[in-house]
């Protein structure tokens, strides 16, 4: 079996074991599910490394390569978060997310092609790695927002949950709004770095750090979406919006923003302006 199929299966297994762990809480299963996810991550990483060795360049030159790297980053960022925070059910959806990204990669053309001269740059390396880590974090925040919104109607009125984010205690889904915020706060600097290094690279390769190319414009839109998310908590209380309503609004906004992330990543071909773009995969 190919590595990619194996990775897909182990992601699913990891996801199932996370669900089992949610129902039947015991310490061994906690480690088993995390173990599965780490195995899936390692397989995914092997895939990325194997690909870059075979292709002879960092694996971001086309959609297939970017997607397998994106899946890998998603697993990686989740694993980091699981070590920092104590949450369970998120893992089930996070590994499904990584699995779906990888599955989407299998639909792409995986022919190794020589890379064009403009892609031969260290700025590009930093640019893609930071972007992918940012995107991965937003993927996890997307998952926590979903769980928050789904479990919200069932969770009892907030008692004293101020200790909810304590790292050695388990975080309850009703506090996932705050968790999402922390995850976005982790990802946003990566997104910013990705954008800045992208601009510097564009200046070196194309002579202009910003040319309102659709890809550039949409990464700005993504950035602005998360900027709104980060500033809204300063506004809404002043507008007499209750705390719980604000959490719902913000969680919804994270779902929309992650949609924008994915559109920026793979959806731009559908834009009428795609044909003019220098940067969209497959547009030229």
């Amino acid at each position: 079996m190919s590595i990619i199929n194996l990775a897909l299966i182990v992601y699913v297994v990891a996801s199932v074991s996370y669900i089992v762990r949610e129902i039947w809480r015991s310490i061994p299963i906690k480690w088993i599910s995390l173990g599965f996810l780490i195995v899936a991550f390692c397989l995914n990483l092997t895939l990325v490394l194997k690909r870059s060795i075979e292709a002879g360049h960092p694996p971001f030159s086309n959609l297939y390569e970017s997607l397998i790297f994106y899946a890998c980053c998603t697993a990686f960022v989740y694993i980091i978060f699981e070590f920092v925070y104590n949450f369970r059910v998120v893992g089930a959806l996070a590994s499904i997310l990584a699995m779906l990204i990888l599955l989407y990669a299998t639909l792409q053309d995986d022919t190794i092609r020589p890379i064009m001269p403009a892609l031969k740059s260290n700025w590009m390396l930093v640019h893609v790695v930071t972007y992918m880590l940012g995107y991965a974090a937003f993927g996890i925040a997307f998952v926590t927002s979903i769980i928050y919104l789904v479990t919200k109607p069932f969770s009892k009125k907030s008692s004293s949950d101020s200790k909810g984010i304590d790292s050695d205690k388990e975080i309850l889904p009703r506090n996932f709004d705050k968790l999402s915020y922390k995850i976005v706060a982790f990802g946003f600097p990566f997104l910013t770095l990705g954008m800045v290094t992208g601009a510097v690279w564009a200046k070196k390769a194309w002579g202009d750090y910003w040319s309102w190319d659709p890809k550039e414009t949409w990464s700005l839109i993504t950035w602005l979406a998360y900027l709104v998310y980060l500033h809204t908590p300063l506004v809404l209380p002043k507008m007499k919006v209750s705390k719980s309503k604000m959490s719902v609004i913000l969680s919804f906004w994270l779902l929309v923003s992650f949609g924008i992330v994915n559109f920026t990543f793979v959806g731009l071909n559908y834009l009428p302006s795609a044909e003019d773009s220098e940067h969209i995969y497959g547009a030229k």
């Binding site: 022919t111 190794i112 092609r113 020589p114 064009m116 001269p117 403009a118 031969k120 740059s121 101020s162 200790k163 984010i165 705050k178 915020y181 706060a185 982790f186 946003f188 600097p189 910013t192 770095l193 800045v196 601009a199 510097v200 200046k203 070196k204 390769a205 194309w206 002579g207 202009d208 750090y209 910003w210 309102w212 659709p214 414009t217 949409w218 700005l220 839109i221 602005l224 979406a225 900027l227 709104v228 980060l230 500033h231 809204t232 908590p233 300063l234 506004v235 209380p237 002043k238 507008m239 705390k243 731009l268 834009l271 009428p272 302006s273 003019d276």
Partner: protein
């Protein structure tokens, strides 16, 4: 960032004993400002969120609506009404429109105001101040670029130089216009180097009934299943630089397929050499010299004797038949002779023949593309004239004729025309071999021939050597390795499928697919497309006839001179004879880059350094708080 409820707590934790800090939060410290509604408005996060959202929407519009097209194109796409709307609202040029500029000015004002208002001279505020001011810097840099920068391009030919470049401008009607800008120096292109990647190859399989293509791995030895089908493919061999050698061989001494190798000279120089096969390619035409070489194999002594003494061409003939009478007869192609069609009432006369019907040139210059014969059929109802085409034997069936019952076909007409000089090589079993030289339809010479001897005709004008004789000629095909470099790679594949196995060589330069026996599965081995590795321009900057700078530029590695940056951007796609340079001058770069630096540092500070410091402080102060950041 916290909700406003938490502010007092934060101030306490952040600035224990900082007097300045407490002042800010006391109302009335800045009476004039605080009472000023406008100031409040410009400081508010609400404005910030609104501006950011509107900008995001503007960006979306700027990618949904094509930018910078002509008014006509918008009319064609969206209709006149919407096109006018687009023009008035400047949606055809969102990012350079007046309203977008207003948005950016507002953003700047907001950023500056909120930074001033929140200014607290504490270390923890570093990130906040840096990020907000960095955006102002970046926007300022953008304005400088817009006002003072130029960007354009120019193509330079190898060995030439330029001292100008062209910038694009869109006029008020949305038309593209070029403006020439002169440079304070000239750029000489000494050399342009275009390096291509080593070509890569792929194996593509195709299953016809599923209409599915798949690229398979090129690993030798691995048996690969073609998904969704019963075919299995094994690459059994690979040669990086292969050649298909075809070697003539002699299979036996029995004259199954007699062939000779001849060399034809015109006085001294070699005109032609090659194999003549009695049963396939038995002649060679030297059109320029009006000379024809023929190899005629005759299976018996008697036929040999007959043939050698006539100049009649044995091959060209017409066939007449009258099916209802069971009549069928071949006639040699002799002009103006009347043949009686045996017991019938018909007779036949050959009027003329051509090698290329409709060709007005003399017959000796015509290629044998469409040989045709014109005949006259004399019968009970008078005379019928008819053209007969060798390549279209059904012609007379499809065209009405007087004597439809008389069918006529012709063959080997190309052989009928006799060039001025003909050398016939007669050959029969048992050392019977003669050369006959015919000039102007007269036999001039008849000589016996032997291998490897030189014969000359017409005062040495034509010379001939017959150097080999293969009674049973065959061609052995062999794939050989030409070199170890990648040249024309070839792979040998074994296909297993419902009709057994098939093995074959696939050459990367072949345009044709190799089909499996059932005609449902095909494979092709092909290059994945040529691609450019890099292109380099060796540039020299010349000022007052003096070279002031030299550099090889390539993509990602530009040249900087006098505030201009010269980028390698394209090249002549056909001949690679010119280099496309992009020339940019942007005095705003230092400002923008400081903004970039401040932004990166700022966000890292806010989201990584500050929480870390906070946590430490929290632990020290043992204050637990519940807030977002």
């Amino acid at each position: 960032m916290g909700s406003s409820k938490n502010k007092p707590t934060r101030v306490k934790t952040e600035t224990v004993g900082n007097n300045e800090q407490t002042k800010v939060n006391k109302p009335g410290q800045n009476k004039k400002r605080d009472s000023n509604k406008v100031w409040d408005f410009f400081c508010s996060v609400k404005l910030a969120v609104i501006i950011i959202l509107v900008m995001a929407v503007a960006c979306v519009l700027g990618t949904i609506i094509l930018q910078g097209r002509s008014f006509d194109e918008y009319t064609a796409r969206h209709g006149y009404g919407f096109a006018t709307f687009i023009r008035i609202t400047q949606l055809n040029n969102v990012f350079y429109s007046y309203w977008f500029s207003v948005l950016l000015v507002l953003l700047c004002a907001n950023l500056i105001c909120c930074t001033i208002r929140r200014w607290r001279n504490t270390f923890l505020q570093t990130g906040f101040v840096l990020t907000h001011l960095s955006l102002v810097l970046i926007l300022l840099g953008g304005v400088i670029k817009f006002q003072m920068g130029v960007k354009g391009g120019v193509n330079v030919y190898e060995g030439k130089s330029v001292d100008y470049f062209l910038t694009q401008k869109i006029d008020s009607m949305g038309r593209l216009d070029y403006v020439k800008k002169s440079l304070p120096f000239s750029i000489a292109l000494d050399d342009f180097i275009l390096e291509k990647n080593e070509p890569k190859y792929q194996i593509v399989t195709y299953v016809k009934d599923k209409d599915k293509q798949k690229v398979i791995e090129a690993n030798v030895g691995k048996r690969q299943r073609i998904p969704g089908s019963d075919y299995r493919v094994t690459i059994t061999d690979y040669i990086p630089d292969a050649e298909l050698r075809q070697e003539p061989v002699n299979e036996s001494d029995k004259p199954d397929n007699p062939a000779i190798f001849v060399k034809l000279f015109g006085s001294e120089s070699l005109l032609a050499e090659g194999w003549l096969l009695a049963q396939a390619n038995n002649y060679h035409d030297e059109k320029k010299r009006d000379l024809r070489l023929e190899y005629l194999w005759l299976p018996s002594q008697q036929e040999f004797d007959n043939a050698v003494n006539t100049i009649q061409n044995v091959n060209a003939k017409i066939t007449a038949s009258i099916p209802e009478l069971g009549f069928f007869q071949d006639y040699s192609l002799e002009l103006n002779k009347t043949f009686k069609l045996s017991s019938s009432d018909y007779s036949l006369r050959i009027l003329q023949y051509v090698l290329n019907y409709g060709d007005t040139r003399p017959i000796s210059e015509q290629p044998a593309n469409n040989p045709a014969v014109q005949v006259e059929i004399d019968g009970p109802d008078g005379v019928e004239m008819r053209w007969i085409f060798e390549n279209f034997p059904e012609w007379d069936k499809m065209h009405p004729a007087k004597y439809e019952n008389v069918k006529i076909a012709c063959s080997d007409i190309a052989n009928a025309h006799m060039t001025r000089n003909v050398i016939r090589i007669y050959h029969a079993p048992g050392e019977n071999q003669k050369l006959v030289y015919i000039k102007d339809k007269q036999i001039v010479e008849t000589i016996p021939w032997e291998l490897d001897k030189r014969y000359s005709f017409a005062n040495n004008e034509h010379q001939l050597i017959i150097s080999s004789y293969f009674p049973s000629f065959d061609i052995k095909q062999e794939v050989v390795k030409k070199s170890d470099q990648i040249g024309t790679p070839a792979i040998r594949v074994r296909i297993d499928g419902p009709s057994g196995k098939k093995e074959d060589w696939l050459f990367a330069d072949s345009k044709y697919a190799t089909w499996y026996k059932d005609n449902n599965f095909a494979m092709i081995y092909e290059p994945t497309g040529e691609s450019v590795k890099h292109f380099i321009s060796n540039l020299r900057i010349v000022k007052n006839n003096q070279t002031v700078m030299e550099k090889s530029i390539k993509v990602n590695d530009p040249l900087k001179c006098d505030g201009y940056v010269i980028y390698q951007s394209s090249y002549d796609p056909e001949k690679g004879s010119y280099s496309g340079l992009q020339i940019v001058k942007d005095p705003g770069i230092p400002v923008v880059y400081s903004g970039f630096g401040a932004l990166c540092f700022g966000v890292i500070f806010i989201f990584y350094v500050k929480p870390f410091l906070r946590k430490k402080q929290k632990k020290e102060n043992e204050v637990m708080e519940n807030e977002y950041n």
